[in-house]
C-alpha cells in the first residue's frame, strides 16, 4: 500500500499566553503542525497523534523537496493504513519546547531578544495537552475521534482523557506508563548529566557561544537507545561481532554494537537540541496524574469519561515501559468500569516496538479505530 506521499507542514501562532504547571509562562508561541486527510463537515473524524521524546509533527509522508525525510510513524498512517487518511483527519504537532519548528529553547525569548536557552520554562505533559486543546479549538474540533501516542506520547493521550474527558472519544495508549519508575528516572538523569556537564553546554546558553553540547547529547542518546532495545534483539542484531574480525586492543570502535550506538548518537546529536532533550526528560519524570488524587490512580482514572473507549497496548520485550506498567493503567480503568481493551504484543524490538510495522499490532490498531462511528 503506498503511503500518503507529499505532505506540507504549517506553523500556527498562538498569542494567548500559556501558563505552565511549573509556574512559568510562555507569552506567545508557534506550533509546527501537519495534517493528513480531510476534516469532515461534522468535524468528527480527527485523530491527534502525540509524539514521544524525540518526535515531532512530521508523522507521515515526505516533503516535496526532501523525498528521504519520511515521517516517523509513516508505516501506520495513510490511505488504507490503520490510521486511514481516507476516513480520518490526522493531526500531528511538535510540542512546545520542541526543536522542530514549534517554540522552544532555541527560539527567541521576546523579553531578551536572545534565544531562550536555559530560561525556557519547564513544561509538563499537562501543558502540552493544554496547547493541543487550543490547537483543536483552532481547527474547530470539539472532540477528537481519537487521541493516540506511544511512550511519552501515550502519556499525553492518557492525560487528555483526564484533563478533557468529554473531548476524547477514543484513546490509544501504547507502550506507556501512569508514571516513571525510579529506574526510569535514573536513566533520564544520567542522560541529563551527560548534557549538563558537557563544557559546551554553557548553562544552557550555548547558542550565544556558537557551540552545542554535542558530546553530552550523543552520550544521552546512546544510553537511551540501549534502553529502547531488547537484550535479545541486540544479541540477534549484533552479538559480539567485531568490525574487523579480531581484537585490536584499543578504544576505537571494535564491536558492531559500539559502531551502531555511536552512529545513532552522532546522528541524533547532529540535529536535536540539547535543551529540548532536557525538557522532554523532565516532562517524563514529572508525569504522574495520580498526584491529582493523592497518588490514587483508580480515583484519577475515575475522572475519565464513561463513554471513552480505551485501547492500551504493551510489548513483551519492552523493559523501559514494561507490560506491568500498562496493566496498572488498565486495572485502574477497569476498577472504574471503563471501556478498555488491552493487548500484550509479542514483538522483539523492546520499547521501539511501538514504531514497528507488524501485522498483528497494526491489525489491532486498525480494528479498534475501525469501530469508530463518525
Amino acid at each position: 500500500m503506498p503511503g500518503i506521499g507529499v505532505v506540507e507542514s504549517q506553523r500556527i501562532h498562538f498569542s494567548e499566553p500559556l501558563h505552565l504547571r511549573s509556574g512559568g509562562i510562555l507569552p506567545a508561541y508557534d506550533l509546527a503542525v501537519e495534517t493528513y486527510g480531510t476534516l469532515n463537515a461534522a468535524r468528527s473524524n480527527a485523530i491527534l497523534v502525540c509524539h514521544a521524546l524525540s518526535g515531532h509533527h512530521h508523522l507521515a509522508g515526505h516533503y516535496a523537496d526532501a523525498p528521504d525525510n519520511v515521517g516517523w510513524w509513516d508505516n501506520i498512517i495513510g490511505p488504507g493504513r490503520p490510521l486511514d487518511t481516507d476516513k480520518f483527519f490526522i493531526v500531528g504537532l511538535n510540542n512546545p519546547g520542541g526543536c522542530h519548528g514549534s517554540t522552544g529553547p532555541s527560539s527567541i525569548n521576546p523579553a531578551t531578544g536572545k534565544p531562550w536557552g536555559a530560561d525556557f520554562p519547564i513544561i509538563a505533559v499537562s501543558d502540552w495537552v493544554t496547547a493541543q486543546a487550543r490547537l483543536a479549538d483552532r481547527f474547530g474540533i470539539d472532540s477528537w475521534a481519537a487521541v493516540m501516542g506511544g511512550s511519552l506520547g501515550g502519556m499525553q493521550a492518557l492525560r487528555w482523557t483526564i484533563s478533557y474527558p468529554e473531548r476524547v472519544r477514543n484513546a490509544l495508549i501504547i507502550a506507556s506508563a501512569p508514571k516513571l519508575t525510579a529506574q526510569n528516572i535514573a536513566f533520564n538523569d544520567v542522560a541529563r548529566q551527560a548534557i549538563l556537564t558537557d563544557p559546551d553546554f554553557h548553562g544552557g546558553h550555548y547558542y550565544e557561544h556558537g557551540t552545542r553540547p554535542v558530546r553530552g547529547l550523543r552520550l544521552a542518546r546512546m544510553l537511551g537507545h540501549i534502553t529502547y532495545l531488547s537484550d535479545d534483539q541486540m544479541g540477534e542484531k549484533f552479538g559480539r561481532e567485531l568490525r574487523n574480525g579480531s581484537f585490536a586492543f584499543d578504544y576505537d570502535v571494535e564491536f558492531e554494537v559500539e559502531s551502531y550506538l555511536r552512529y545513532q548518537g552522532d546522528k541524533f546529536a547532529g540535529y536535536f537540541d540539547a535543551n529540548t532533550y532536557l525538557l522532554m526528560t523532565k516532562a517524563l519524570d514529572y508525569f504522574d496524574p495520580a498526584r491529582l488524587d493523592d497518588g490514587d490512580l483508580v480515583k484519577t482514572m475515575g475522572r475519565t469519561h464513561p463513554n471513552t473507549n480505551f485501547f492500551v497496548a504493551s510489548f513483551t520485550t519492552d523493559w523501559r515501559f514494561s507490560p506491568a506498567r500498562s496493566r496498572e493503567i488498565v486495572a485502574a480503568l477497569l476498577a472504574n468500569g471503563r471501556k478498555v481493551s488491552y493487548a500484550e504484543i509479542d514483538l522483539n524490538f523492546g520499547h521501539d516496538s511501538f514504531l514497528m510495522e507488524d501485522p498483528h499490532y497494526h491489525g489491532l490498531v486498525a480494528a479498534f479505530l475501525g469501530n469508530i462511528a463518525l
Binding site: 477497569l334 476498577a335 488491552y342
Partner: protein, 203 residues
C-alpha cells in the same frame, strides 16, 4: 430447537443476566457471548483471552477484551467488580482449577461455569469401546486437545462442596443442546453432555 450461535449454553447464560449488569467473560474468544449479551440483554461486558487472534477478533467485534493468562489469576480486576463472571467451556483447559474458581468469586458476585461432562454415557461408551471420546462438546482428538482436566458433574459438585461454594442453579444439556430432565444427580451425570452452573460463595 435452534440455539443462538449454535451455543445452547449461551441462551441459558443470557437468561441469567439482567440489563445493566457487568459481565466478565473469561476465555471470551471472539467475544460472541458478550456481543449477544450486550445486544439482547443490554449488559456491560468485558472479555479476557490469551490468544492474539481472539483478542484481535474481539476488538473487531467491538468487545472490550483484556489479553491475560487465566492461570495467573485475575489480578487486574478489583473485588466485586462484576455481577457475573463467566467461564464457558474453559474450566477443563485451566490447570489451577481451585484458584480460578476462587478468583471468579472474588471479582464477581456470581460465577457461571460450563464444561463438558466426561461421564456422559456416550463418552463412557467410547472409553469402554477403547477410544477417547470425541463429540459435539469434546470436539478434539486426544493428541490435539487443549483440555488438561477431565472431570464429571459429580466431581465438580464435590469440589464446590469442598470449597464451600453454593450451587445456585444447575442446567444439564445433551449433545443436541436440549435440557436434560432427570431427578437424581447420578442420572444427570449419565445423561448430560454439557453442564452449566451458577455459583456464589457465602459472604
Amino acid at each position: 430447537m435452534t440455539h443462538t450461535l449454535g451455543r445452547p449454553d449461551f441462551d441459558l447464560i443470557a437468561g441469567w443476566v439482567e440489563p445493566g449488569h457487568r459481565v466478565l467473560d473469561l476465555g471470551c474468544g471472539d467475544g460472541a457471548l458478550l456481543k449477544l449479551l450486550i445486544t439482547t440483554r443490554n449488559v456491560q461486558g468485558w472479555g479476557v483471552d490469551i490468544e492474539d487472534a481472539n483478542v484481535l477478533a474481539a476488538i473487531r467485534n467491538g468487545i472490550n477484551v483484556i489479553q491475560s493468562n487465566l492461570e495467573k489469576g485475575l489480578a487486574d480486576f478489583a473485588d466485586d467488580a462484576f455481577d457475573h463472571v463467566v467461564l464457558s467451556r474453559t474450566l477443563q483447559t485451566v490447570r489451577h482449577t481451585e484458584h480460578i474458581l476462587r478468583e471468579m468469586l472474588r471479582v464477581g458476585r456470581e460465577a457461571v461455569v460450563s464444561f463438558p461432562n466426561f461421564a456422559y454415557w456416550q463418552n463412557l461408551r467410547s472409553v469402554l469401546d477403547g477410544r477417547m471420546p470425541v463429540s459435539e462438546d469434546l470436539p478434539y482428538q486426544w493428541y490435539d486437545s487443549p483440555n488438561v482436566r477431565f472431570f464429571t458433574l459429580l466431581d465438580f459438585e464435590a469440589l464446590c462442596g469442598q470449597m464451600g461454594l453454593t450451587i445456585v442453579e444447575r442446567r444439564v444439556l445433551d449433545e443436541a443442546g436440549e435440557i436434560v430432565l432427570a431427578d437424581s444427580p447420578r442420572d444427570l451425570n449419565f445423561l448430560g453432555s454439557l453442564a452449566v452452573y451458577r455459583l456464589t460463595r457465602p459472604r
